[in-house]
């Protein structure tokens, strides 16, 4: 009996996978165009005043990126545009540069797993680590192991709270606090400095959430006393939660004039909610952060007012930084990339840059 049922289960699974083969999804007119060089990251500031780091001061050994093991630890599943673009960028660039031994791990949003993932990369003999950290704090065990073996770590998109050049090599990424401030600027502009604003927070406990919230609030307080932040609830960075919270919001607080969504997904969820409530585009001003194609399209359609970009294409910059480091050049402690903004003015023509 168990054998037959096991067989049945296997057959079911096989059938399910097989049907996936003959699946036919909706004809999609807007399949993302090949990224090409569009939307490439540009270095904004390199913390020129801060300390720099050389191979010598780091104390590492020169190695060959192309032949030796290079580890990349991704924090979240490649299931949202940002993570997909990020991993793709790293892999593509590695392929382009002929890096043969790139090992990629994914922590599936579990921080403990990311720690052990990176430790395993080190155990596998990785000579260079590129890490997209799930969290800024708590890297002690990894940093110690890496330091023992003098493995340089480049963290991308999120910072690690530790000592650059001793604990890790450098950080390449956006300034989330700054993103929050720029989103506030956009909000102030589209509301004319007046009105009630709601915030759709990201996942609680996440420092992206913390920074984007703080930047936004600080800027509003500083520049637009006429704007009151009357509502902050988490949308957990997902479209569904963003929609649900917005539905509650617009029903119970009809006076809300603007919504600041801490990522594009929640903003798009908010748009669905507004549509469902019979609102017209632009009736409630939405500003968000990320710069995904769907969100930029949202600006074109008039639903979103502005999107502050958070560029995920770290591959070229990460590997060129590593190469520079190996060549003995000084590396700055932080490399802040320049994120652009999508507004009603430039959305249509910049759509190609969105990811």
């Amino acid at each position: 009996m168990p054998r037959t049922s096991g067989l049945a289960a296997a057959v079911t699974l096989a059938a399910l996978l097989a049907t996936a083969a003959c699946a036919k999804s909706e004809d999609s007119g807007d399949t993302p165009a090949p990224a090409g060089s569009a939307g490439q990251q540009v270095v904004q500031s390199t913390g020129a005043t801060g300390p720099t780091c050389t191979l010598q001061s780091f104390g590492g050994q020169k190695f060959d990126v192309k032949k030796d093991v290079v580890g990349f630890s991704q924090s979240e599943k490649e299931a949202n545009p940002f993570r997909i673009a990020e991993t793709k960028s790293i892999k593509d660039e590695a392929g382009k540069l002929g890096i043969a031994n790139l090992r990629v791990t994914n922590a599936q949003s579990q921080f403990s797993k990311q720690i052990s993932d990176v430790q395993q990369l080190i155990a596998q003999g990785a000579k260079l680590l590129v890490i997209a950290p799930l969290n800024s704090d708590g890297w002690e065990p990894v940093l110690r192991q890496a330091a023992e073996k003098k493995v340089p770590i480049i963290t991308i998109d999120r910072k690690i709270n530790a000592q650059p050049c001793t604990d890790y090599l450098t950080f390449i990424g956006s300034d989330f606090y700054e993103q929050g401030k720029r989103a506030a600027d956009q909000m102030i502009q589209s509301l004319g400095g007046q009105g009630e604003v709601a915030i759709l927070l990201g996942a609680p406990g996440n420092n992206v959430t913390t920074d984007r919230t703080k930047g936004f609030k600080d800027r509003i307080q500083e520049k637009a006393p006429g704007i009151t932040i009357s509502f902050e609830q988490t949308g957990e960075f997902t479209r569904e939660k963003g929609q649900q919270v917005t539905e509650q919001l617009i029903q119970s607080r009809p006076g809300t004039k603007g919504i600041y969504a801490e990522n594009d997904e929640m903003a798009l969820g908010a748009v669905t909610a507004l549509k469902g409530a019979g609102k017209s585009p632009g009736q409630v001003k939405i500003v968000s952060v990320d710069g995904t194609r769907a969100a930029v399209q949202g600006i074109v359609d008039g639903w979103l007012s502005a999107v502050v970009e958070s560029n995920p294409r770290f591959g070229p910059l990460a590997f060129s930084t590593a190469q520079k480091f190996l060549d003995g050049e000084p590396i700055p402690a932080t490399v802040i990339i320049s994120d652009q903004e999508y507004t009603t003015a430039n959305a249509k023509e910049s759509l190609g840059n969105a990811y």
Binding site: K24, E26, N80, Q248, Q251, S252, T272
Partner: protein
């Protein structure tokens, strides 16, 4: 003759109050919460508000109905959230053939996963919590493999499903109500319904009485999977996108809570359909209340914990 005398139910006194709470506690809680909101929440007494709450609770209700049946057999189904995600993935995967085909494909997938879990429980004898835990992990992965990222769609039929109203009532809510009636009928009036509570109440006795215990179990898990898939399709159509990564996350806990708060014991042998719906409504109203009053997440979770404990304490069976 030594007959066990059964006293007429006296509704007075402390014991009477407890008995009343056990039977109707969840209704009383929903009512209390409604009253609170009417008094303290602005814009609560609006049609739009009730629409919002009912629309949002519909997928939870539908999933909880299936969960109630499973719990009635002394089982548990942790895979419902992942099945929702899988259904969502199947919908966009097959949308090219038109909405009806896509929906049917999603429902078949949900039923198949449910039946698979049921087979593990019924034929292999794996404990429900473990069998469905494996599915919880694996099926979400599968959904993600099929649809790796959030995918929007424009199929008008599917979008209408999530946003259309019939006679002023949202279609989603009508579907949830219809399924509630259907499951109520199933439990009260059908052979399967009678058999599933018997299986939950005493499996050995059911087997000896010639009940097709294994078939009943597989069917019940299949129904749970099917209902979760329905919920998944509805949630997808409402979102106007398929998002297998986050759709239905932690739905299993909401559904279990709704069922248990509604007065169905985890030990099986009993299914309370209306209680389950009320349980789901209670949680929905609670969350809505906390959101509307802009209380922080930490509050929401702590208050929810207290409500669950209180509701289940009130509803727990009198012990001999």
């Amino acid at each position: 003759m030594a007959e066990i005398a059964v006293a007429p139910r006296a509704w007075g006194g402390r014991a009477g109050l407890l008995a009343w709470l056990q039977e109707y506690g969840v209704y009383a809680s929903v009512l209390a919460l409604l009253l609170f909101n009417v008094v303290f929440t602005p814009h609560f007494l609006e049609v739009a508000n009730f629409r919002t709450q009912l629309i949002q609770v519909a997928p939870v209700v539908i999933t909880s109905l299936g969960m109630a049946l499973v719990i009635g057999t002394e089982g548990i189904d942790l895979s419902v959230g992942s099945v929702m995600a899988l259904a969502s993935a199947m919908v966009v995967l097959y949308l090219g053939y038109g909405a009806p085909v896509a929906i049917v494909a999603a429902l078949i997938a949900g039923a198949a996963i449910g039946a698979g879990g049921g087979a593990l429980v019924a034929y292999v004898g794996v404990q429900p919590i473990v069998a469905t835990l494996a599915l919880l992990v694996g099926v979400r992965g599968l959904a993600n493999v099929l649809v790796p990222q959030l995918t929007e769609f424009r199929n008008p039929t599917l979008i209408t499903l999530g946003s259309r109203s019939v006679l002023g009532l949202p279609l989603v809510v009508i579907i949830a109500a219809a399924l509630t009636v259907l499951i109520g009928f199933l439990v009260k009036r059908t052979t399967l319904g009678r058999q599933l509570v018997a299986v939950g109440g005493n499996r050995a006795a059911s087997r000896l009485s010639g009940l097709p215990v294994r078939r009943v179990l597989v069917t019940v898990y299949l129904i749970s999977g099917l209902l979760a898939a329905v919920a998944g399709v509805l949630a997808t159509s409402r979102l106007q996108a398929s998002d297998p990564t986050s759709l239905g996350l932690l739905m299993e806990l909401s559904a279990i809570t709704a069922v248990v708060v509604g007065g169905t014991p985890l030990t099986g042998g009993r299914v309370r359909v209306l209680g389950t719906v009320m349980g789901a409504l209670l949680i929905q109203l609670l969350q809505a209340t906390l959101i509307k009053h802009n209380l922080p997440q930490s509050w929401t979770q702590m208050v929810q914990a207290v409500i669950i404990l209180a509701a289940v304490y009130a509803a727990r069976g009198r012990r001999a």
